[in-house]
């Protein structure tokens, strides 16, 4: 068995804070716990969005995840909000 849900969530947040780019693909979070099924990791990442820890960023065709504070800065730089 892999990590507990809370441990995985903490690892996801850590990854989203430290990644060079603010937006991450769902796949980037799989590595937080290789023993956990991708669908479970997806559900935990989506739970973090509901909890306000992450935010969706979508191009329309692809959806990515980001920390709200990091993404807002990005958009501010581009002058869209």
């Amino acid at each position: 068995m892999g990590m507990s849900d809370d441990e995985i969530k903490a690892a996801i947040i850590e990854k989203a804070k430290k990644s060079p780019k603010p937006q991450l693909y769902i796949k980037d979070f799989y590595k937080c716990d290789p023993d956990t099924k991708p669908r479970k990791i997806k559900n935990l990442a989506n739970a973090l969005v509901r909890e306000g820890e992450l935010m969706f960023w979508s191009s329309g065709s692809t959806t990515m995840y980001a920390r709200p504070d990091r993404i807002k800065n990005e958009e501010g730089d581009e002058g869209i909000n």
Partner: protein, 426 residues
């Protein structure tokens, strides 16, 4: 009164066809923001570059799809389209509406958005074009609370499923496309509203191989009605067609005189697998060779019907050209029962088998059809737990090498080298 000069767009009103430019002008008389759509588009035609900026964090709370963020990159010039987000609303199965519902939807959209629509987008959704970020939540509240309707999918989500009108109107439908589409839409609400995959994933349901929703070309998971037994033949009706007493193709070619109906020329010779022939005035079909193209049935609907053992074929992996070229779906499961009696359990099992694998193996922004291409069909068929069948083979092999799987070799790949060297010195 037009707000911008649009000489190039005006050209597009001159042909004999309906013009989107005229449509936008008409709406702009009501909602002046729409003049800026035309202004910005004219500028794009002049600059030969789009002035839409893609993407962003727009959405409604708790949803990761259904709204596609679009902004103008020249908002000072065209303030009416500074924000111009697209909203996708899940269409009803088969796109049946009451005029009451359509009016309510349009009123809602004029209240919160530009009033411009696209009925329907190629995914099937009701597409509402252009609103500001702050209008999204109020619009969504009204849509869900007053109309009882919901957003569709976008981004890396399950996209809004779509179906042909199936058994509600069409005698050829081999399963209940509306029920299947509705059931799976409800079953997978989480996957429709929140991102779930490496990239988009689409289901479409057609009741027969005529494939009126073009599932084969447009969906990652195409469920296309099919039958297992023999095409039903009414020989008396065949004679009527031959005698010219029933018009072919349900009378669809009656606008012009094409001459007398010729069953040989129009049916037998056009059967792609050449599996039909006449014995006297009896029509014969070698059903084991029939590829379910529907041609003969389309030409003589009163004489020929799909068989009685009905279900669907599952074809996986179609996509539009993004990384590589466009491709049609590949036939994976030739026949599966599709019925509400088991709540589509067997179809769901196939879907989740694919998802579990694709989520793990698929690369970012890779459609399942591209993943299949990358690993090769034999590997994909193995992942799906299926045995290869002749229908999986596109053409005779041109590659002379045979690669054995370890479990296919008696004793596996391990061997006793010492023993071998006793017979063959190194």
């Amino acid at each position: 009164m037009a707000k911008h000069d649009t000489p190039m767009l005006d050209e597009l009103e001159k042909g004999p066809w309906p013009s989107f430019v005229s449509d936008i002008k008409r709406q702009a008389e009501k909602n002046p923001d729409c003049w800026d759509i035309l202004g910005q588009l004219e500028l794009s035609y002049r600059d030969k570059i789009t002035h839409w900026k893609h993407g962003g964090i727009v959405g409604v709370f708790g949803y990761g799809g259904g709204i596609v963020g679009r902004y103008s990159d020249v908002p000072k010039q065209f303030p009416g389209v500074e924000h111009f987000h697209t909203v996708r609303v899940n269409q009803p199965a088969s796109k049946y509406y009451s005029t009451e519902n359509l009016r309510a939807l349009m009123d809602l959209w004029e209240k919160h958005g530009s009033g411009m629509t696209n009925m329907h987008g190629s995914t099937g959704d009701i597409v509402l074009l252009g609103c500001r970020t702050e209008a999204l939540e109020p619009f969504f509240w009204d849509l869900t609370h007053e109309l009882g309707q919901d957003l569709g999918g976008s981004g890396s989500n399950l996209r809004t499923p779509a179906n042909c009108l199936g058994q509600s109107r069409c005698e050829w439908s081999c399963f209940d496309t509306e029920e299947a589409c509705h059931h799976l839409t409800m079953h997978y609400q989480d996957e429709i509203h929140r991102p779930a995959f490496p990239y988009k994933f689409k289901f479409k349901f057609s009741g027969c191989p005529n494939d009126c929703v073009a599932a084969l070309a447009r969906s990652d998971f195409a469920v296309i009605g099919n039958w297992k037994d023999d095409i039903r033949i009414d020989q008396a009706a065949v004679k009527e067609y031959v005698a010219g007493n029933i018009p072919s193709n349900g009378g669809a070619h009656s606008g012009r005189d094409w001459g007398a109906f010729d069953i040989k020329k129009e049916v037998l010779d056009l059967c792609p697998t050449e599996c039909m022939w006449m014995e006297g005035d009896e029509l014969k079909i070698d059903n084991s060779e029939c590829t379910r193209c529907m041609h003969c049935i389309n030409v003589m609907p009163r004489a020929l019907r799909p068989g009685k053992v009905q279900g669907a074929s599952i074809n996986i992996g179609a996509k539009a050209p993004i990384l590589d070229g466009a491709q049609f779906a590949t036939l994976i499961i030739p026949f599966i029962e599709v019925t509400a009696e088991n709540e589509f359990e067997n179809v769901i099992e196939v879907i989740e088998n694919i998802w579990d694998w694709w989520m793990e193996v698929g690369k970012n922004r890779e459609r399942v059809g591209e993943t299949m291409q990358r690993v090769g069909l034999p590997t994909f068929i193995k992942v799906m737990g299926l045995d290869p069948i002749p229908q999986h083979v596109r053409e005779p092999r041109s590659n002379p090498y045979v690669f054995w799987q370890e479990e296919e070799v008696p004793g596996g790949f391990d061997r006793d080298v010492e023993e071998f060297r006793k017979r063959h010195a190194a």
